[in-house]
Point group: C2
Chain length 552, copies 2
């Protein structure tokens, strides 16, 4: 029986972000992307989420390569963590490689990691895989799709992409290559589903440039622009427009400075002579001669724009005479933080121009019609929608069906499921360990469901600690009960309630003595139950209750 190709997503299915796909054929493993995700609202205190890669660790020896489609965090962000557990050569385009190097340096992983830079159009071998890089447009430069050639056929893995006929630099997505692959025959297509809900086509990046021009022309204010640090082309457009109107450009915000540095060094950004200026030197300049490019488009509390708005920025103070341009849209979940910054900027007297008011941002992901083009060109035998929540995957599957693909040739999988492909069949066959590994401070994976449940409980109603000192001879009460609360109620204004709670505890203790109960576990349990039901009755709240018994 012929060997089968296995495709396993350890992230990126039924979620946005955390993209990591494993390809397996005849003993060889190819990893595509290694991204991080952002914590849900109820993951209190968690910094980032990375995929559970225990399956890869277990099969360490069979990993031949890691191929990266582009340099966004949701495709490379987990590398520093994963590379501590596995090791394999990384293949990426130059900009992607440059961004990865920054990460590896921060985690001092540079020496032990081999990075091979590739150009779109080139191919590398990884065991029995031949992996071809195909140029695509996206909201970061140097993005590629992959054609993964295997002995049983070719899989097209789009990564994140859009089709932009007028990109800022370079070419439109290499539709010719997608078309030729289709003619040669494509076994399966794994395609980005992020924008499948949106009809029509994604607007070209150039369109944003026109908005910038309108906002710079004849403007006598200082201009402050924020966008995603990784959007090299967007930043290039701001700089070009600034140069056109004789403005000097200052850069603020760590990630913005990092990306600028890499992008310029590698030639992905072209800075017109004496356009850039040190932030410190901008102060002296007339307002209509200045543009500041800053981080903070998502309202992040540590970002430069946030600090400007709330007067925490060393060099920049916002006020009347400032025009702030927010060239981004809020990522779902960030709407409120973004609004908070916008409102504060207005309060400071600045003019704020944001997406609801003008055409200042375009998506980097293909909409319905663009997706149809890729399906039509590649003519895959099997289709697996990726990069999306359940609704995206289902809607993308429906799109494929409308284009004539039989339902049974479409695989909607979940993370951890093993999709088994042969020339004649595609089916889900078994699962591997998968899930979210939570990063909190230096801790990777040491915070799990129990800890999170406790954090949520504490967040809701706070906690009450009850300390009791019992005699080791006869178990009689020596001192206490002392009651300490945090996050529950103003104690000063609740002395009466505290007194009642002490009463409840005392009666529990007496009850235990009378009924001869002496083991601490039972006593603690009773204290907990009595207190919590009393509290719910009187306050309708349910704080965490922590009975502490000591004895001498």
């Amino acid at each position: 029986m012929a060997e089968k190709l296995k495709i396993i997503s350890l992230g990126g299915l039924n979620e946005i972000g955390k993209n990591l796909t494993v390809y397996e054929f005849g003993g060889d493993i190819l990893i595509v992307d290694c991204g991080m995700g952002f914590p849900d609202d109820d993951m209190y205190g968690i910094d980032v989420v990375i995929p559970d890669v225990s399956y890869l660790v277990k099969n360490r020896s069979r990993i031949r390569a890691i191929a990266l489609t582009h340099g966004h965090e949701d495709h490379i962000g987990a590398l520093p963590y994963v590379l501590k557990e596995i090791n394999a050569p990384i293949y990426a385009t130059r900009l992607t490689a440059g961004l990865v190097k920054i990460k590896l340096d921060e985690h001092s992983l540079t020496d032990k990691t081999k990075i091979i830079t590739m150009e779109a159009g080139e191919t590398f071998r990884a065991g029995r895989f031949m992996v071809e890089f195909i140029h695509v447009n996206h909201s970061i430069a140097d993005a590629v799709a992959l054609a993964i050639h295997t002995p049983i056929g070719t899989v097209v893995h789009t990564g994140d992409f859009k089709i932009d006929p007028t990109p800022i630099s370079g070419e439109i997505t290499d539709l010719a290559r997608f078309g030729n692959l289709g003619k040669e025959g494509v076994l399966a297509l794994l395609c980005d589903s992020t924008n499948v809900e949106k009809p029509g086509y994604t607007t070209s990046e150039s369109k944003v440039g026109e908005s910038f021009d309108n906002l710079f022309r004849g403007c006598d204010q200082r201009i402050i622009v924020t966008t995603f640090a990784s959007n090299v082309h967007r930043i290039q457009q701001v700089i070009n427009t600034a140069a056109r109107y004789g403005r000097k450009v200052g850069i603020t915000g760590r990630s913005m400075e990092n990306v600028m540095k890499v992008a310029t060094e590698l030639g992905y950004m072209v800075i017109p002579p004496n356009t850039l200026m040190e932030m410190s030197r901008l102060k002296g300049m007339p307002k209509d001669k200045v543009v500041i490019i800053t981080t903070g488009s998502q309202g992040e509390t540590m970002s430069a724009l946030y600090r400007m708005a709330f007067s925490g920025h060393k060099q920049v103070e916002i006020g009347a005479g400032d025009r702030v341009i927010i060239s981004a849209s809020a990522i779902p979940g960030n709407e409120k933080t973004v609004s908070r910054v916008i409102d504060e900027l207005f309060r400071k007297g600045a003019e704020v121009i944001y997406d609801r008011l003008s055409d200042l941002h375009v998506s980097g992901h293909a909409c319905k019609e663009e997706l149809k083009i890729i399906h039509a060109l590649t003519k895959p035998k099997y289709f697996m929608p990726v990069h999306g929540e359940q609704r995206h995957l289902k809607i993308h599957a429906a799109l494929a069906q409308q284009m004539g693909m039989p339902r049974e040739n479409i695989v909607i999988a979940d993370v951890g499921q093993v999709v088994e492909l042969s020339a004649k069949s595609a089916k889900i066959n078994g699962t591997v360990p998968c899930g979210n590994v939570l990063v909190d401070g230096y801790g990777v994976g040491d915070v799990g469901s129990v800890v999170l449940r406790d954090r949520k409980h504490l967040a809701q109603d706070g906690m009450i600690v009850v300390v009791i000192n019992l005699s080791s001879e006869d178990g009689s009460l020596i001192s206490g009960p002392d009651i300490i609360t945090r996050g529950f109620i103003y104690v000063k204004e609740s002395e009466k309630l505290m007194e009642e709670l002490r009463g409840v505890v005392l009666s529990v203790l007496n009850g235990c003595r009378d009924s001869g109960v002496s083991d601490w576990a039972t006593i603690k349990g009773n204290v907990k139950n009595e207190l919590s039901s009393y509290l719910y009755k009187t306050t309708k709240r349910n704080p965490m209750i922590l009975p502490v018994i000591m004895s001498i």
Copy 2:
């Protein structure tokens, strides 16, 4: 010197919701609306937010009336709490009154509260105020704007409104009356700013009916529709469409049932004969003969739709053969919860139709062009933008200026500020107490910034309780340190860390003994500091640390 009119917003400025405006002239106080707000993301455990009305309590005796513009929670939700502290007759249209009665019954305030129902067009006297009700369109029936006539002039208070030429029942917003008031002369306009960011006109409610018709026609699935329970006209349209296609309608979700009951009793909803059916009886019906109207358009975890999606609903189980129509858009902050429900419905195999895919919801608030119409008709001397965050107020002010109003005649106020109006001047003069009163369970106002700060701290990194037993004679350690953690880390996997922490505490205790420190406050302080710096160094986390010292 002539008497002045004072306008004080205790809510609704620099925030969405919690609307309460105080009008003061001579000795008389008129209250307009009494709404609640929703807690911010960082108000852990808080159920609702209501305005601080201590100013009203202090001036209880001068309150002549409470006028309500419509029955939405952000305009009537705080009544049950506020009416426990003040008492005044409530003037409202019939539907608004009906919804208020439900609340008052729940809080057994019905007997002690006088409610006078009014028709649009009628006027009532409250001290030296003559208050006129003016019909407006909104996303709830029976909404009104107010013309508040005072000896020094008339103030137009729009409340929430839109201009809908084809409403589902009744008339278009009474532009004639607004125009006549303008001709008679309007001293000041207080106008809804919610949609001032949006250009053009808000779509008519009728448009949604067309979408319903398209989705019902020829559909052989069971249809489940969710929308805001208070949107009587929307629900009416669902029922009409159901009747047109011979479907029986079941209602589920407490608030939906409540509103339906009131609206039908008062004749705001007309149910075609034998269209409604008990949920229990719907089970037997063929799918293409059934429509279920349910709560849950915001993905609320207790709502009927949520329970259907996650298989927790008694009568309804979602699956293939169900078409779920979400006729609402996510209120900012609810995006993720709504998506979660949509994804789960897809997972269950249902077809889900939501705003991103179709024209299923229209706003109840006026967009830019509609606002201009009101400004142009009323021709106010002074203008005060209300119902909005800072950005909305500023953009609305700019709109008024573009229409020719002098900047100095526009007052952008904040909650608690006293806006003083005479025939010749409008200025901010002083402030009164104001702010958020947080409701948590039965507690009203007993949770404040300290408690919230602690909850946030606990949510981020959990807590560590350190219990020490010291001898009362020589302060020597009798037992402990015992270390208990919650929401911090998996203890089982962190025995080593726990051991280290005990070591840190012991060395602190020894240090105190050696240096003769014996007062508990100092000892506790040192334990706290040493532990937290040790923890930050080793884990980069900052749990709450609670040292407990006992002594015998």
